[in-house]
Amino acid sequence: MKVKRFILASIVFILASGACLALALLYLYHHPSTVKRLVEDYLSARFGVETTIGELEYGLQPMQVHAAHIAVRNAKSGDDLDLSLLRLNAAFKLEGQFGRRTLVIERMALAGVSLTAGERMNWADLIPDTGPPSAFSRLAKRAAAALLFRDVRIGVVDLDDGEAVLGKGDLKMALRRIRAGTTPEGIRVDGELQIQWPATGAVFDAPQFGTLLNLGFSADQDIFSGQLLLPEARYTSPQATATASQAEVHLALSLGPDRITLEDGRLSCRSLTFNREGMEELPLHAPRLSATGEFDRRQGVMRLARWQLTLDELLDISGEAELKLGAARTLDIKRIDGALFPGKMIPTAFLAAGCKLTPVQVTGAVGINGHLVFKETERGWIEDGDVTAAFDQNAVKAVLGSLRIEGKVTGTIRGSGRASAPMIATRLSGRQILLNGSGLRVEPFAVDVSAEGTYPAFSIPLLEIRVPAAALPVADTFHAINDLLLRATNGTIEADTMSLSCPEIILTSDVLRNLKASLAADLRQMTVVVSGSETGWAEAAGRFQLLPTGWHFGGVDRLQAKAVIRPDGESRLSSTLELSGLSFADASERCAGEDIALRAEITARSHHPEGAIAVVASLRASGGEFLWDRFYLNPGNNPVTLSANLHYALSGRRLQINSARLELEHLLTLNVGGHLVRKGSQTAYDMTLQASPAPAAPLFATFIAEPLRYRQPALAAALVDGLLSAEVHVAAEGNRRSLRGHVDWQSGNAVTADKEVRLEGIELRLPLWYQSEGADRGDPPMKGKLTVRRVTAPMLPAQELVLPFDVLPNQLNTTGELRVRFPEGEVRLGTVSGRELFSPSPQVKTRLAVKRVQVGGFLKGLWSLPVDADVNGELEDIVFDGRDVRSRGRLVADIFKGKIIVQNPGVDAALSTAPNLQADCLIQDVNLADATQNTSFGRIQGVLGGRLEHLEIVDGEPQRFTLLLETIRTQGVPQRINVEAVENIARIGGGQSPFVGFAGNVASFFKEFNYDKIGIRAVLENDVFKINGTIKEGGVEYLVKRGGIPGVDVVNSNPINQISFKDMVKRVRRVTESPSGPVVN
């Protein structure tokens, strides 16, 4: 019963409710003003806006609505929303079965639509905060769906001349000339669009836009799909302009009560062009952005499950993202995957930076992944993220001026953190790197580099370059250097100050080793410090032909150098090179050094604007040995110190030697000043060299005696002392060369080893003057003088020697006679003129006069008795050509009442170890009785004449001659020869005594014999002495022809009568040294 009563009551209630509803609807149908108020109230309540409808009419047959003067204002923010609609006409119909009906808006015409949204307009406020529907609400909604309609479908909608002005923050958007209508594809909206950002002056302007919207409403969800077409759009800001053509936006949304689902979102355009003042136009073709996701209406979060951005083969990336709206907007690109295409991206980036030419090209795809977060804060947007770009065998080509680098790169570049201060970590490896245009020949090499840090500070843990083989050009020739390794570690870069620091750089190769360096550079200066020990510099220098061919060096080196380079200021270099155990030698080992300890210091300064370099250098060698040809120096005993203060002007290529000093301790100090100028391929110089006074003895020992010890032993054995000094000015320009100065020898003495010749109290000023042929010779002569206070020599009286001379270019001329006094008589040496003294063939001319020089003393060794012989004569044109001495003239010795005349004497190879004295002699009217008186040879009376031709004497011995001796019958002079003389002539001639046997008995009656003539011809050559008689009668050759009774003939029976000269000397010696005269057997 109870159930029946309940059912009955329910039916009554439903019927009553339906009747009430029908009555209400009937009432409303006939009272449009009530409906108008209801609608106004509903809209105001539903969307929080203040809505007024001026006119409202409707009908059911047909179903239509007419409204006019509709105004909507934001109830909360006053005038922030102002929507007015002048007129609205709509026709409806219901389709479908009862309970499943669809309300079809067959046609809707809107006119005079104007929308203005103000600054404080919050569109979110318009979204009703429905919350979870109540049971009644759901029941009412289902009831309405069952009784009225379930879906809404829009038919034809027309909007004409609409306008919307929206403002939000720094954004003002205006839609004008809006026209809308429905098409079979959906709702089409056309118009003009302009968006302005007044604060920044930026404007987005689309003169024409078109949209195609599809709206579907249902009880469960609303569906929106649309397409926005922008045939042309332009974004303009004070900084740049972007122009897009044929831009399209596709959106497909499902509008749910809690979320809006982005079924499909796509943005693309045919082309997008960027322009910025000072940069090239940057066109991008067919950029595309697509996304799918959903918008959580409650949380105000847009989640993109997938997005993809493709930019004109620049990049193709995709991922997922989340955009949070509200007070703190956040864009979180949670995942980025894809690839960059640096082949076009880098040129585009350089083009954007205003560079038409791209110095770096990278081809292939660079993988990129990571995430990015953009947060809006009070201070603006903050970016954060972690993005890694991965290279995999990407081809890289870089062009830096003439330098071209190519290769393949593998590795990663990772950026993380805030964009304002990103943490960058790079690990890159280059392989098969080719380097061209550097002037080097480099085999493909490898590079590894790692860098990390946060802007602006980055560290470079490792930079390593490995070159298997390279060739360096030195003097037009390439020289190999292999296994080159440059490793820099712990480097840092400060990007804000543009500073670089590499504290540890190691450089090794197969030749140069153990080199360490550090580098610090910023915009103001660069500091390079290089150090190393046992670097193999010698091998490297040899390989690079920086050393003369054939030279080799060795030793332990230690190098320290520091260079501070300031592009716009003063640059400095300070370096120290220490070499221990230095050894070197040229190919012939004529120049060599061993175990030398060397220390060199160089300090240089240069000032960029002046283009000049000032250098202070010092070098000290101590210990070891040095040999140059036959000149030997022991730096341990005579340390070598070189110091120099130089100034080099780059512009004029001029080296100014402010001061330079070379000191060989205990030997010599040489000071140099002047300059050198490089002119084209020639070097001009003008320098003064000054040698301070130094003891002559060690100089003589070091530079003359020791080197010439074996070649000129007599000279080497001489003793020399005094002080030597010199000053020389040398100059050259073009082909002109000159040398001018003097050498001084003061308080000097020179003594031969046997102490027989002494020169004491030597004062010498020797001017030196050399000029090349092209030089000026107009200057007056330089004066020089040799004074020897006391000269002593065997058989000469002690005497003073004074020899003044003038020096002209390449000439030396004595200005007075040099008199050499003899015990009796003197020799006068005339003016000595030396010419072309600096040429390979100098020429010295002089003349000699002999005045009554008594030479008897000199003949003591040759003649057993004192000889009275005066020599007089003159030798003209004595010429020394550097090898031989020639003269013209004669010396006459008055001896034995006759004369011996020496003609045109000379010396071959005068400076050799075996000088060859040459002369021709005439023998005139020598009285044989005087010559043979009291000699062991025997006595001959008569007068002798003859000649000695082609005489050559070497080492005190005759080497060659042709002797012709004949007696000359003279009235009053008997011609007699005693027995001893006959025997000795026979002996010398190679025979034996004729006085043997019967002949001896006969001869015993006589002591002397008459002779008619004595005639001897003797020839010496090649140590063979040949003697013949000159008297030939009846086929007999006589040396002595008898002349009456008693007489004697000495006959040569052997036409080839020759003997070695050595034997001949022995024969003569036996004859002449016999105390009792010749022995007659």
Binding site: L627, Y710, S912, R960, A1003, D1023, K1062
Partner: protein
């Protein structure tokens, strides 16, 4: 036929030209004699053979008194029988003496391998690495002096043997063998 005739003419002309172009130059070079001289000089310098002493001439057995008058007759001495290869003069003797004096200084360096006798007749540094520079300087000085003397010696020998100066190098080459032989 014409072509054949031209070939014959050309061949004849070539033959005539070839005969005319043949010039024979004979340069006399007494190699054996130089070798003997070189051996003698080298042995003397190196002290391997006592210096020749030819001061004892042979007696002249043909001397006689041909007439009642006294006649001294000079006949050939032992010189004719002496070694015909002997080449000497004061220059050569001086050079030999200097080289002889120098040899004791050179000898240890030949033994130690520092010096060697070159194939050109001159002393050369072979391995001076073991020497300090001072010794090297001395050795170099010795070598220079020795070679300078040898150069003159070869010229003098050639001159004495009437050999063309242009053949002096051949003389030196022959001497080289003797110098080398003396060290063995």
């Amino acid at each position: 036929m014409k072509q054949h005739g031209k070939l014959v003419k050309a061949a004849v002309a070539f033959a005539i030209l070839s005969i005319g172009a043949c010039v024979t130059i004979n340069i006399y070079f007494p190699a054996e004699k130089v070798e003997a001289v070189a051996g003698e000089i080298v042995q003397e310098v190196r002290g391997l053979q006592p210096e020749k002493d030819t001061d004892t001439p042979q007696k002249n057995k043909s001397s006689s008194l041909k007439r009642p008058m006294l006649v001294a007759s000079i006949v050939a001495t032992a010189w004719a029988a002496e070694d015909v290869t002997t080449v000497s003069n004061p220059t050569i003797r001086a050079l030999k003496q200097q080289m002889k004096n120098r040899y004791p200084l050179l000898k240890p360096h030949f033994k130690s391998g520092v010096l060697r006798e070159g194939a050109d007749g001159f002393v050369a540094l072979a391995n001076a690495g073991a020497l300090n520079l001072k010794d090297k300087r001395d050795v170099t000085g010795l070598v220079d002096a020795e070679n300078k003397d040898r150069r003159v010696l070869y010229q003098e020998v050639a001159k004495a043997m009437k050999i063309e100066p242009s053949q002096t190098d051949r003389v030196a080459t022959i001497f080289a063998k003797e110098w080398q032989k003396s060290l063995q």
